[in-house]
């Protein structure tokens, strides 16, 4: 019973991480830094609520979140690929834009700087804490399916091969006729859609949008991407690990057995450990962050 509750909670916490981290892997494997995941998630969360509020359908909310994430991703892609702006600078700018824009729109549409009204979601009232509430939610299924799907896309399709090629050696890819820019655009758009979906899960699970509600989850997903060495399956496992640590800390509440500071530190500490080469060598895609070569 306790184990089941633990597993259900780990999964609930992990879903947004899994979706965003799959997006992070796609973007980074194509050579574009995934700093913007946080912004895509926040934008997606807002779009999900706005569309669900306007239409009464959480499905339209999910579609709007995908579109919203893609829109922010397009902005990132155009700046970084077309205009060759520095990815870190543009990435930070887009995250700030997402924070400011969602707050502005929240006030414009819903006349509040705190939260939106309640909207339709997938889970019903009184559905409890177990798997019942979990299996009702189609976004949960998407979150579970996204990791194998990303692995398949990256390793088993021509598109995946091209993504990996432009992330490692764009000049070589271009020399054999791969449209480098187009592949990168697509990879970034996919990452925006997936992270937007992660935001939709968060917002629809709360049945509302709250200012700044992603609270750093995009960065945890980025940490999982790096700790998972840019591999979808390993990144997925990293997400589950981070979520399990959070769950453990929540379940042991009151006992103070694990200080919350320690748990909050885990994703970032592990990322540093991974980059320092303690657990195997973490080799980033060779062209990551470089946009001047085509």
């Amino acid at each position: 019973m306790i184990a089941l509750a633990f597993f259900a909670q780990t999964l609930r916490i992990a879903i947004p991480y899994l979706l965003a981290a799959a997006g992070g892997v796609m973007s980074e494997r194509a050579g574009l830094i995934g700093l913007t995941l946080e912004g895509y998630m926040l934008g997606g969360a807002f779009c999900a609520v706005a569309a669900s509020f306007a239409s009464g359908s959480p499905w339209l909310g999910v579609l709007a979140a995908v579109a919203g994430g893609a829109l922010l991703a397009l902005l990132y892609a155009v700046s970084a690929i077309r205009f060759r702006a520095d990815q870190v600078v543009v990435g930070i700018a887009i995250n700030l834009l997402a924070i400011g824009l969602t707050r502005f729109l929240l006030r414009l549409f819903f006349d509040s700087s705190s939260n939106s009204p309640r909207v339709a979601g997938f889970t019903s009232q009184g559905s409890g804490t177990g798997f019942g509430a979990l299996v009702q939610n189609p976004v949960v299924w998407l979150g579970i399916a996204v990791i194998p799907a990303a692995a398949w896309l990256l390793y088993r399709t021509p598109f995946g091969l091209r993504v990996r090629a432009v992330g490692e050696h764009p000049a070589a890819a271009a020399s054999v006729g791969v449209p480098v820019a187009r592949v990168r655009y697509l990879a970034v758009l996919v990452s925006g859609m997936l992270a937007g979906l992660g935001g939709a899960y968060l917002a629809l699970d709360q049945h509302q949008f709250t200012d700044g509600m992603t609270a750093g989850r995009g960065f945890i997903a980025l940490a999982a991407t790096i700790f998972g060495r840019w591999d979808p399956l390993r990144a997925g496992l990293a997400c589950l690990l981070f979520a399990a640590a959070e769950t453990l800390q929540i379940q042991l509440q009151g006992t103070q057995a694990i200080p919350s500071q320690f748990v909050e530190m885990i994703p970032y500490a592990l990322t540093i450990v991974a980059l320092a080469g303690v657990v195997g060598r973490a080799v980033a895609p060779a062209a990551l962050g470089k946009t001047t070569i085509e």
């Binding site: 804490t129 709360q206 709250t210 509600m213 609270a215 959070e246 769950t247 929540i250």
Partner: protein
């Protein structure tokens, strides 16, 4: 690149130079001049359905009733809070109010720099020196503090009496002395009416983000409800909206904070521990208007109706009359000083 660096350096020099300029402001207020009040909101600003809105209400009431002029500043993301306060002080406002404990250091600093301007800080956190003695704020600064522990004590008693499961929950935002005050009062209230009750207590984090993380709040609450808790009190800003969502999902109850939060989840909000930020702000403005303003520490507790719990037609069907009578009795004992509520760990 060189040119750019030079430009940046020039701007930096100008910026630093401007820091040392103190505009004189209106030197002496002309006779018959209305009182000017400046209010700087905490992150979130108006529409936060919490203490920013409370401060706005109080200031607006003062504007109408006392004929003062109020200017509001809403800082954005980042660190321009201090510049908002500085701007108002430099413009020669009679009273500058910072809303939120985050303004504590900035207010102290500015009160020293502008000794002729009056300042007030809502939730101002009073410093103590290494030996534990209270460092009083500057003479022109009023610290508007609330005895949150007293209100939390009453809702603690309420949670234990209505919950009936020997287990009650607490969800805090950022783990900090201000929020620990809520927890300690709550625990004491629970123990008063149910000595063998267990309080499950959890904070959402250790950074200010912990006040804006409803996803985390929901997970903590779900886990507490699952362990047999029937009522959770949250003191966690919008993280608490997740607690309400968990209450809906499990058909249990939650207690709101700062303002009456019944409308966030009708039927699932047992009550709210309210802080009278509006009255405190109104009071401060009225004192300036009447020339009675004094710096120092002002505590608003149950006796001053600075804190309390909501009991109205929305939630009276959730609270049995016996329980309400018991709470009122406890309130009187606290006001009379027969019960002293702890506020620190």
């Amino acid at each position: 690149m060189r040119k750019l660096l030079l430009l940046v350096a020039a701007l930096l020099v100008a910026h630093v130079a401007l820091l040392f300029i103190h505009p004189a402001g209106a030197a002496a207020p002309p006779a018959g001049h209305t009182i000017d009040v400046g209010v700087v909101f905490d992150l979130g600003g108006r529409g936060d359905k919490s203490f920013n809105d409370g401060a706005y209400l109080g200031a607006e009431r003062a504007e109408k009733a006392l004929g003062v002029q109020v200017r509001f500043i809403e800082p954005g993301e980042g660190s321009d809070r201090e510049s908002g306060l500085r701007l108002l002080a430099a413009e020669g406002m009679d009273l500058v109010i910072g809303v939120g404990f985050i303004f504590t250091d900035d207010l102290t600093q500015l009160a020293r720099e502008y000794p002729n301007t009056k300042f007030a800080g809502v939730d101002y956190s009073v410093a103590t020196d290494p030996s534990g003695k209270v460092v009083p704020p500057p003479a022109n600064l009023a610290a508007l503090k609330f005895r949150e522990e007293q209100g939390s004590y009453l809702v603690g008693a309420l949670a234990a009496l209505v919950g009936k499961s020997k287990k009650v929950g607490f969800v805090g935002g950022m783990d900090s002395p201000l929020i620990q005050k809520f927890e300690m009062g709550y625990r004491a209230g629970v123990k008063q009416v149910c000595p063998d009750c267990i309080v499950l207590s959890q904070y959402a984090g250790v950074t200010p983000e912990a006040f804006r993380n409803p996803g985390k709040g929901k997970e903590i609450a779900l886990s507490q409800y699952q362990q047999g808790v029937n009522v959770i009190f949250h003191a966690s800003g919008s993280t608490g909206l997740g607690v309400f969502e968990a209450a809906r999902q499990t058909n249990k109850l939650a207690i709101g904070v700062d303002a009456d939060q019944y409308s966030e989840a009708p039927g699932y909000v047992l009550s709210s521990m309210v802080k009278g930020v509006d009255n405190a702000v109104y009071d401060a403005i009225r004192k300036v208007k009447d020339g009675q303003f004094r710096g120092g520490i002002y505590q608003y507790g149950l006796a001053e109706s600075g804190v309390g719990y909501v009991y109205d037609k929305n939630n009276e069907r959730l609270i049995p009359p016996v329980v309400h009578a018991r709470l009122e009795q406890l309130r009187q004992e606290i006001v009379a000083g027969r019960i002293v509520v702890p506020s620190t760990r």
